[in-house]
C-alpha cells in the first residue's frame, strides 16, 4: 500500500470512505519504519503491538459511527514526551530503560482524538542540540541526503514525516528545535506561543522557553493538529485560560493588505547568500499577492544568543537535578558531554556572586528582546526570516565546536525569548537540500501564521518533492 502521497486530511477521507482500514494503514507505516529506519534512525522505539491494538479499536469506533478528529491516524512522538507504558528516554543513556507511569496532557489529548501512537522519535539527548548528533543512540539522518543532518533537537520527528513513516509528529522548540529541523527536512513545523500548548508530561528542558509543537507535511494538517493540542491545562500553571479558535478557519484567507516585516538583523552577515535569495523570492511572491513588505529592525537581536544560553542553561541545570538514579533511571555518570556542559554553565550563572551579573542581567535583556517584538507588531502583522543561516551541514562537521553549533540558533532563539509563535514552511531547495522560511507573529496569532504560509505552500507544492530513499 502506497502511503507516500498521504496527508492527515487525505487519510481521514480515505478511512471514512473505507478505502482502507486503520489497521491496514498502520501496518503500511510499520512496514516503512522497518524498511527505512535502520538507515535513517528516526525512531528509538516502535510501538508495533500498541499501535495495532489502537488501530483495531479505531476501526471498531469508526464502524460504530464515532467521529474523532485523528481517528486511525498514525503519529510519532518525540521521545521527550512521557508516554505511559512506552519507554521514554529523552535520547539519553540515563533513561535508556525508563518506562513512565503516566501520559502527558498532549499525549492524552492525541489519544483521546483517536490518534495511533506508532513510535517515539530520536532527538538530541535532553533536547540539547541543533543537529540530532547529540543523541546517545546515534544521529538521525536527513532523508534528502543521508550524509547530512536533519537538524535538531527534534530530529527524528520531521524525518518520520518526510520519509512517510508517520503522518504527524510532535516536537519541542526551546531555541529553534522545531523550526530549524522543519526547514532542513521540507516539513511544516510549528512552535506555538509559549503556554498555548501544555508542557505537562514533556520532560522539561528550559521551563520558561520550552514550547510544545509539531511537524506535518502540510499547513492544513498542521492547523488540524493544533486544534487538538492547544488549550488551558489545570496541570500546567503557565497555560492561560484563553479560548482555542478553529485554526483551520482562516487558512485560505490570503495575504492581501497584510504587512510583512523584514528585520535587517536576520538578513546580514552569516546568512548564506543563496538562502537570502530564496527567501527574498518568497517575499516577492507575497508582494505579488498584495502584501506589503516593510523593512524594520529588532535591535536587541545581537544579544539573543548570549541571553538564551545563560537563561536556558540555568534552567536546564535545575531541571536535570532530579535525574539522580535513586528511584528511576541510571546515575549521573551516564549524562553525555553536551548535558554536562550545559549543567556546568547553568550552575555557574546561578551561583552566588555570579547570579546578578549573568542570570539577572540576561532576564533583564530578555525583556528588551520581548519589547522589540511588541514594538514591531505595532507596525507589521508578521515577520518573515530564514529558518537557518546555513544549509544542513554534514554529519560531524560542527560537533567539535559547540559554540559554532550554538550559533545555528541565531534566527530562532528570539522567538523563544519573546514567547511568540513561529511557523517554518518549505521555501525551496539548494544543492538538493531543503530550505525553510520562518513566519513569526504576535502572541496567540497561530491562525495568522497559517494564513500567511498557505499561499506559498500551494504555489510551490514542495510537499510533493519526496526524498530518494
Amino acid at each position: 500500500m502506497d502511503v507516500t502521497n498521504l496527508t492527515i486530511i487525505k487519510a481521514l477521507q480515505d478511512l471514512r470512505s473505507k478505502k482502507y482500514s486503520a489497521v491496514e494503514l498502520t501496518n503500511a507505516y510499520i512496514e516503512r519504519i522497518k524498511k527505512y529506519n535502520p538507515v535513517l534512525n528516526a525512531f528509538l522505539t516502535v510501538n508495533e503491538k500498541g499501535a495495532l491494538d489502537q488501530a483495531t479499536r479505531a476501526d471498531e469506533q469508526r464502524t460504530k459511527g464515532i467521529e474523532l478528529p485523528l481517528l486511525g491516524i498514525p503519529i510519532a512522538l518525540k521521545d521527550i514526551f512521557v508516554t505511559k507504558d512506552i519507554k521514554t528516554t529523552a535520547a539519553s543513556k540515563v533513561l535508556r530503560n525508563y518506562i513512565p507511569q503516566y501520559d502527558g496532557t498532549v499525549v492524552k489529548k492525541l489519544k483521546d482524538a483517536g490518534a495511533i501512537i506508532i513510535g517515539k522519535t530520536n532527538l538530541d539527548a535532553w533536547a540539547h542540540g541543533s543537529s540530532g548528533e547529540n543523541s546517545d543512540f546515534g544521529p538521525t539522518k536527513n532523508p534528502y541526503n543521508t550524509d547530512y543532518v536533519p537538524g535538531g533537537s527534534s530530529s527524528g520527528s520531521p524525518v518520520s514525516i518526510t520519509s512517510n513513516m508517520s503522518l504527524a509528529a510532535t516536537g519541542t522548540d526551546t531555541g529553534g528545535s522545531i523550526r530549524l529541523p522543519a526547514g532542513f527536512t521540507n516539513t511544516v513545523g510549528l512552535k506555538p506561543t509559549y503556554g498555548r500548548v501544555s508542557r505537562y508530561g514533556v520532560i522539561a528542558m528550559s521551563s520558561s522557553l520550552d514550547s510544545i509543537g509539531h511537524f506535518t507535511k502540510t499547513v492544513e494538517d498542521n492547523a488540524l493538529f493544533l486544534n487538538i493540542t492547544a488549550g488551558h491545562d489545570t496541570h500546567d500553571a503557565t497555560t492561560p485560560m484563553k479560548d482555542v479558535p478553529d485554526y483551520m478557519e482562516h487558512i485560505k484567507k490570503g495575504v492581501k493588505g497584510l504587512k510583512i516585516g523584514v528585520p535587517k538583523e536576520y538578513y546580514g552577515e552569516g546568512l548564506d547568500p543563496r538562502i537570502k535569495e530564496l527567501v527574498e523570492k518568497s517575499l516577492k511572491f507575497y508582494e505579488s499577492l498584495g502584501a506589503e513588505i516593510i523593512e524594520m529592525s529588532l535591535p536587541y537581536t545581537e544579544y539573543a544568543i548570549a541571553v538564551y544560553y545563560i537563561i536556558q542553561t540555568a534552567e536546564v541545570s535545575s531541571n536535570l537535578a532530579r535525574f539522580d538514579g535513586i528511584r528511576y533511571g541510571s546515575d549521573r555518570s551516564h549524562f553525555g558531554d553536551e548535558a554536562k556542559r550545559r549543567i556546568m554553565l547553568g550552575t555557574y550563572v546561578l551561583s552566588a556572586g555570579y547570579y546578578d551579573a549573568y542570570y539577572k542581567k540576561a532576564m533583564q535583556v530578555r525583556t528588551l528582546i520581548k519589547n522589540d517584538f511588541e514594538e514591531a507588531y505595532k507596525k507589521v502583522d508578521v515577520i518573515i526570516t530564514p529558518s537557518s543561516p546555513t544549509l544542513p551541514w554534514r554529519l560531524g562537521e560542527k560537533v567539535s565546536d559547540p559554540l559554532k553549533m550554538y550559533l545555528s540558533d541565531i534566527y530562532t532563539v528570539t522567538g523563544n525569548l519573546a514567547g511568540v509563535p513561529g511557523l517554518s514552511v518549505p521555501a525551496g531547495f539548494i544543492d538538493d537540500l531543503p530550505v525553510g522560511i520562518q513566519i513569526l507573529g504576535p502572541h496567540f496569532s497561530e491562525s495568522l501564521l497559517y494564513q500567511v504560509a498557505y499561499p506559498l505552500e500551494q504555489s510551490l507544492k514542495l510537499y510533493e518533492r519526496k526524498p530518494n530513499l
Partner: protein, 438 residues
C-alpha cells in the same frame, strides 16, 4: 564578663489543607501507608509541573496578617536548589526575596515586641527512615504545604521564647489552618542561639557566630534545650574559646545538644524565580477579602471578653485559651440570657467545674447551671415557721451573732436551708434572719 543570649526562631507550620501545595494529592498523610499519597508532581517524575494551592496561600496570608506583617502585593515562588534523597526534584519550591508577608511583630505579655522578619510558603520533603544499612523514603509528606515564620534575633531568654511559641500555636489553631502539634511534626522549631558580650551589647552588634538547634519536639523541652545551650556556650566563651558555628541536635533522653553538622559557610542554593509558576499579584481587594475571612484573634477576643462580659483578665484568659472554649462560652451566654443566667455564672462554672464541652451541649450546660442555682419559692408563713424554729434551737449562735460575730449568720442560713429541704435563695433567707434578729 556578662553574656547576653541572642535568640532567633525559625518555626515551620504544616497547613491542614485538603491537598498538597502543588498537586491534588491528599495532604492528610499522618499514619497512612507509605507512598500512598503520591503522584507524578510530588514524586518529581520527569515531565511533572507544580500548580499552586490557593487555599494554602490564603492561609499563609492570614498567618502573616495575624503577625502584623506587610503583605506583598507582588510575590513569587523560587527554586531552592540542593540534593537530598527526600527532595524529589533536586530543588525545593520556596520563597526567597518576595515572601507573602514580611516585617511584622508579636507583642508578648511583658510588653516585649518580637520582630517577625518574614512569613513565607514552601513545600515539605519526603521522610527518610534508616534501618540497618538501608534507608527508606516515604513521599507522602513530599509537597505538603509549610509556612515558615522567621523572627528577628530579638529574644534574650527561654521564657519569652516559650511564650512566643505558645501564642503562635494559639494563633494558627484559632485560624484553624494547622493543628500545630509539635509531637506530630506539624509545628517544627529551630532556634538560633548565640551569646553577646558586653561590648557587642553596648554597640548593638550581633555575635559573629550562631548555633542552630534542631530536633526539639515538644514545648516541654524548648526551655530546657535553650537553657542547656546557653550554659554550654557560656562555658566555651569563659574558657577563652569561641563557640563553633554549627547545627546541633537536641537529645531528649540525654537532655543535651550534640554536634550534627558544621556550617562553615552558608549553602549556595542558587535561588532563582520558579518559571513554572507565574508570579502572584494580589489586589488590595483580594487581601481584604482574605482578612475578612479571618476569625477574631486571641488578643482581640481576650480584650473583648473582659469588656463585654465584665470578666477578669484571669477568667477571660482561660476562656479564650482555645477558640472552641471561647465559642462555647459565648453560645452558652446567649442561651443563658433567656434564662437569666449571667455571663459571670457561666464563666465560673466552666472555669471551676471544667465540664467536657465536647459532649455537654450548650443548652444542657445552661440547664445544669439553672438547677444548681435554682431557688424555690416557699410559702412565707411556712418559711417563717422554719426560721423561728431554727433560731429557737440555736440560742448560742443567735447570741454570738448579737455579740458581733457576724459570720455565724451563714450557719443559721444553712440550718434553715437544711430544714426547708429545698433550694431557697440564700440571700433571701439571710435577710429574713437578719430582720428577725434585729
Amino acid at each position: 564578663m556578662i553574656y547576653t543570649p541572642v535568640i532567633g526562631l525559625e518555626v515551620h507550620v504544616e497547613l491542614k489543607t485538603k491537598s498538597k501545595m502543588f498537586c491534588s494529592c491528599s495532604a492528610d498523610y499522618f499514619g497512612k501507608g507509605p507512598n500512598t499519597h503520591t503522584c507524578p508532581v510530588c514524586l518529581g517524575l520527569p515531565g511533572a509541573l507544580p500548580v499552586p494551592n490557593k487555599t494554602a496561600i490564603d492561609w499563609c496570608i492570614m498567618i502573616a496578617t495575624a503577625l502584623n506583617c506587610k503583605i506583598n502585593t507582588f510575590s513569587k515562588f523560587d527554586r531552592k536548589n540542593y540534593f537530598y534523597p527526600d527532595l524529589t526534584k533536586g530543588f525545593q519550591l520556596s520563597q526567597y526575596d518576595l515572601p507573602f508577608g514580611e516585617k511584622g511583630y508579636m507583642q508578648l505579655s511583658n510588653g516585649k515586641k518580637v520582630g517577625i522578619t518574614r512569613v513565607h510558603m514552601e513545600e515539605d520533603t519526603g521522610k527518610l527512615s534508616h534501618i540497618d544499612n538501608t534507608s527508606l523514603i516515604d513521599f507522602n509528606r513530599s509537597g505538603v504545604p509549610l509556612v515558615e515564620i522567621v523572627t528577628e534575633p530579638d529574644f534574650d531568654n527561654a521564657t519569652d521564647v516559650k511564650e512566643y511559641l505558645q501564642r503562635l500555636q494559639q494563633i494558627v489553631r484559632y485560624l484553624d489552618v494547622s493543628n500545630a502539634d509539635m509531637e506530630k511534626g506539624d509545628m517544627r522549631l529551630e532556634p538560633n542561639i548565640s551569646l553577646r558580650n558586653e561590648d557587642e551589647l553596648k554597640n548593638k552588634k550581633l555575635p559573629k557566630y550562631k548555633v542552630e538547634v534542631k530536633n526539639i519536639n515538644s514545648f516541654r523541652f524548648v526551655e530546657k534545650a535553650i537553657t542547656y545551650e546557653i550554659k554550654r556556650q557560656t562555658e566555651t566563651l569563659e574558657s577563652g574559646k569561641n563557640p563553633v558555628q554549627e547545627t546541633r541536635g537536641w537529645n531528649e533522653s540525654k537532655q543535651l545538644t550534640f554536634t550534627q553538622r558544621i556550617k562553615e559557610e552558608a549553602n549556595d542554593y542558587r535561588y532563582f524565580p520558579e518559571p513554572d509558576i507565574p508570579p502572584i499579584r494580589l489586589t488590595p481587594n483580594q487581601i481584604d477579602t482574605i482578612k475578612s475571612e479571618m476569625v477574631e484573634l486571641p488578643d482581640a477576643k481576650l480584650e473583648r471578653f473582659q469588656k463585654e462580659y465584665e470578666l477578669s483578665h484571669y477568667d477571660a484568659e482561660i476562656l479564650t485559651r482555645e477558640i472552641i472554649t471561647a465559642e462555647y462560652f459565648e453560645k452558652t451566654v446567649l442561651i443563658g440570657k433567656e434564662k437569666n443566667i449571667t455571663a459571670k455564672q457561666i464563666a465560673n462554672y466552666i472555669i471551676n467545674k471544667k465540664p467536657d464541652i465536647t459532649s455537654l451541649s450548650t443548652t444542657d450546660l445552661v440547664s445544669t447551671i439553672l438547677e444548681a442555682t435554682q431557688t424555690v419559692q416557699m410559702d412565707e408563713p411556712k418559711l417563717n415557721e422554719i426560721i423561728e424554729r431554727v433560731l429557737a434551737t440555736n440560742q448560742k449562735a443567735v447570741e454570738d451573732y448579737k455579740n458581733g460575730k457576724e459570720t455565724v449568720i451563714m450557719f443559721l442560713v444553712g440550718m434553715v436551708m437544711r430544714d426547708a429541704k429545698t433550694k431557697l435563695d440564700a440571700q433571701m433567707v439571710k435577710s429574713k434572719i437578719q430582720e428577725k434578729l434585729q
